[in-house]
């Protein structure tokens, strides 16, 4: 069991004063896979990562990270992990090169200067290597951050919102680096606000809600749970109610109305509903149709559904 998972936690709990940030976290991440940890703000994602990365001690529960007991031997865990994200940062007063040499030295990498040059080259930072990191743009800073995490290849990589606020090119560069690491056998635990990022990178997704894992599965599995998203756009706002009545009858789900776009949508698990049938039924009801579509839901839909369930 210990060798199967790179991260395996059972019943991790953490309380900050009155707030119960984690109420029993059970999580398993296999080597060579990326696990996306998603959830609304305050769900406990950051606390979960901080606990597993040895930055905080849990109040209860147990976990093994990279084969070592998180509570009994955090020092051994630290030899096998890399952490990058909003709260684990490089030193802005040092240059990019000085930072990488320092971290290489602390990781006992042989030839820290050579390793620093290699990483500067790989992350496109050679030109800026001798400027203080505080003068870097957001994208360069994040790349330096990841480079500092990779001075030695970690068995488990923790990425806390690694691309928040980055332009598409920088984001792509970081995604590429994560994919390469996973291909080499590194397990990654990723938290992100961008569902597209999770869709792109994650093999598995764990949806967190109020300090627990609410649902897990591959992106495809999670989407399949919701079924198919039906959406029609009508020419006349007054006919939206008629369209909604038809969708209600066909899907059995309560349709949502978007008056601005004159769109009516609903989720269905009925496989027999096809586009021609949808169009025929709406036409028969006298709805002036502009557009109609059946598509798999996005992770956004999954996410919204979760928060709706929570509110209900």
């Amino acid at each position: 069991m210990t060798s199967t998972y790179a991260v395996l936690s059972e019943g991790l709990r953490k309380r900050f004063g009155e707030v119960e940030a984690l109420r029993g976290l059970d999580l398993a991440v296999a080597p060579g896979t990326v696990c996306g940890l998603l959830g609304p703000n305050g769900a406990g994602k950051t606390t979960a990562v901080r606990l597993l990365a040895t930055l905080l001690r849990p109040d209860a529960g147990s976990a093994r990270v990279a084969g070592h007991d998180l509570l009994r031997d955090p020092a051994a865990v630290r030899r096998h992990i890399g952490v990058t994200g909003q709260y684990a940062s490089v030193d802005g007063d040092l240059t990019g090169r000085q930072n990488l040499r320092l971290f290489a030295r602390l990781h006992r990498v042989r030839g820290p200067a050579g390793r620093a040059d290699e990483l500067l080259e790989r992350f496109g930072l050679t030109e800026a290597a001798d400027r203080p990191a505080s003068t870097y743009s957001g994208g360069m800073r994040r790349r330096l951050d990841l480079a500092a995490t990779l001075v030695r290849r970690p068995d488990v990589l923790f990425l806390d919102e690694p691309t928040t606020g980055l332009d598409p090119a920088s984001r792509g560069r970081i995604w590429e680096a994560v994919r390469e690491l996973a291909a080499d056998g590194t397990a990654a635990l990723l938290t992100t606000q961008y569902l597209e990022e999770a869709d792109q990178l994650a093999d598995d997704i764990a949806l967190m809600d109020r300090g627990r894992i609410a649902r897990t599965g591959s992106p495809a599995q999670l989407k399949a749970v919701l079924g198919t998203q039906v959406e029609v756009v009508v020419a006349d706002v007054d006919t939206m109610v008629d369209a909604a009545a038809v969708l209600d009858r066909l899907t059995g789900a309560e349709p949502t109305l978007d008056r601005e776009r004159r769109a009516v949508g609903a989720l269905t698990r009925d496989d027999t509903l096809t586009l021609p049938r949808l169009v025929r039924e709406l036409d028969a009801a006298g709805v002036p149709l502009v557009d109609a579509s059946l598509r798999p839901p996005t992770l956004d839909d999954v996410f919204l559904r979760l928060t709706e369930e929570r509110a209900a």
């Binding site: 890399g82 952490v83 490089v90 007063d93």
Partner: protein, 260 residues
């Protein structure tokens, strides 16, 4: 132990590079006492009963110790900055000695202070301060000064990790400016009303200042003072030992646990 030395050495190098890349705080904290020496020595000094030259000789050891007490401020500021910016957390995820980070910071501060004190000593010489005692005792005085600085920086490191906000550290740090005012660093404490004199003489700054005046041969140990001032060298060593014994474990434990 060897990991502590190796990691501590790497952190020492980091701190020194940091000061070299960004020497603003160092220049500010080291030019301030020179300005104070000139203002106090010539402006206030002219209003005191003590002759000007004598007061400036009296003042130089006081300013040296007051500047050393600023170790609270610099220690706090740097530790708060590291904690706030996430550098501390990054280091805490590395397989390195838990004590290396605060130790590297405090030892680096010591190296920087040893060099940074020279301008104040030279300015002191220019305005009439002299080493009037034996050379060996003067060396002892400088050693005591650095030991005191070391203890002050550890207090600062602990408080900095506690406050975490750079702004709060800056404000709280500025308040350390008040500490030498309630001591015999700038004025003789003998003239203070009874209870205030007791408070001032139990201020660690008073013991160290008196020890420096005694070892440099600038002023005699005052009569009827509280124990740490009446036995200034022993008193200073005792203060440093107590402060280090309290704040080194607090700071290291705080760093290792990292909770707030």
């Amino acid at each position: 132990m060897s990991t502590l030395v190796y990691d501590g050495g790497a952190m020492l190098g980091r701190q020194l590079r940091r000061v070299r890349n960004n020497p603003g705080l160092l220049i500010l904290t080291q030019t301030m006492p020179i300005n104070m020496l000139l203002f106090f020595g010539y402006v206030f000094g002219s209003a005191l009963a003590m002759p000007g030259e004598e007061y400036r000789s009296f003042l130089v050891p006081g300013l040296l110790v007051a500047t050393a007490a600023n170790g609270i401020m610099t220690g706090m500021f740097q530790a708060a900055q590291d904690t706030h910016r996430g550098v501390t957390d990054r280091l805490r995820t590395l397989p390195m000695s838990r004590a290396a980070v605060p130790l590297g910071q405090t030892v680096a501060d010591l190296v920087v202070t040893a060099v940074g004190t020279l301008p104040l000593l030279l300015t002191g010489l220019l305005v009439g301060w002299r080493i009037e005692g034996p050379a060996l005792e003067a060396v002892g005085a400088l050693g005591l000064l650095l030991l005191f600085r070391f203890a002050m920086t550890w207090i600062g490191v602990f408080l900095g990790m506690l406050t975490r906000s750079e702004e709060a550290a800056g404000q709280l740090g500025a308040a350390t400016f008040l500490l030498p005012l309630l001591s015999n660093a700038y004025i003789p404490a003998d003239g203070l009303p009874g209870w205030l004199r007791t408070v001032a003489e139990w201020n660690p700054i008073s013991a160290v200042t008196t020890a420096l005046r005694d070892l440099f041969g600038n002023a005699p140990v005052p009569d009827g003072a509280a124990w740490p001032v009446a036995h200034p060298v022993a008193g200073s060593l005792a203060w440093c030992a107590v402060l280090l014994a309290v704040f080194v474990p607090l700071a290291v434990r705080r760093y290792a646990r990292g909770e707030g």
